[in-house]
Symmetry: C2
Subunit: 121 residues, 2 copies
Amino acid sequence: MFEKVDKHSGIPAYIQVIDIIKKEILLGNLKSEDQLPPVRELQDIFDVNVNTILKALERLQSEGIVEARHGVGYFVKSSQSPKTEVIKILDETVQKLKIMGIDLHTAILIMEEVWKNDSKT
Amino acid sequence: MFEKVDKHSGIPAYIQVIDIIKKEILLGNLKSEDQLPPVRELQDIFDVNVNTILKALERLQSEGIVEARHGVGYFVKSSQSPKTEVIKILDETVQKLKIMGIDLHTAILIMEEVWKNDSKT
DNA sequence: TATTGTGTTATAGTTATATAGAACACTATA
DNA sequence: TATAGTGTTCTATATAACTATAACACAATA
């Protein structure tokens, strides 16, 4: 279910863990009220230390995305729902970009810039 | 011309510098054969140490994006050109996403996932 | 109550990232 | 040749990120 953490990317592991869990929720693979795997399992899944997992979960909790229940587990908060419409729009865009031979990282850099400069906010 | 480095984002400064310079080239603000500002100026512009600038430029060089000329300066390699068509496509997409109330980071996470799963590669 | 499964906290050590400051090397030009 | 502007290398130090390991705290249940 979860992708791996790339230890040589230069991006801190805890940030990668945050983003991977967010993705699963956005895609609907983790739904409202779902329980996450126990921290010791997440440790094995991502091949990082418990403290790194906790740092990620702490951040996700402070963003209101998950909720900790001591002695029970971590749960996806009920406000979270999959972004099916966004997925559809981006799917069409990605197909066009791939035909043009653009790579993902370049596409992201350009999108960040377009996002910032677009006046229709 | 250049945006700032965010020292509290958790993303290493040298990676941010790499991406900011890449953006300027993709947008056409830095063109083929253009000379970059001297490393000591880049140090002031980004408010980071020379060594951090050098680490970024080293990486950009190994990716074939810029070229170092000892005693002269850093130059954008001739193979680089602005991605105007990509900008146009992403501009339309971004407008739709903004209307839907999506934030940039969420859009990027979903795009990464769609990119990976799309079979039309 | 005792046990198991869960989250939580703490300590100590390692590595990567970033800084400051200085010195050195190459190029262009007066 | 001398100088100014550029890139390059080095050392020492500080901080953030990550690891390993252990112990502690809470909840559910036999």
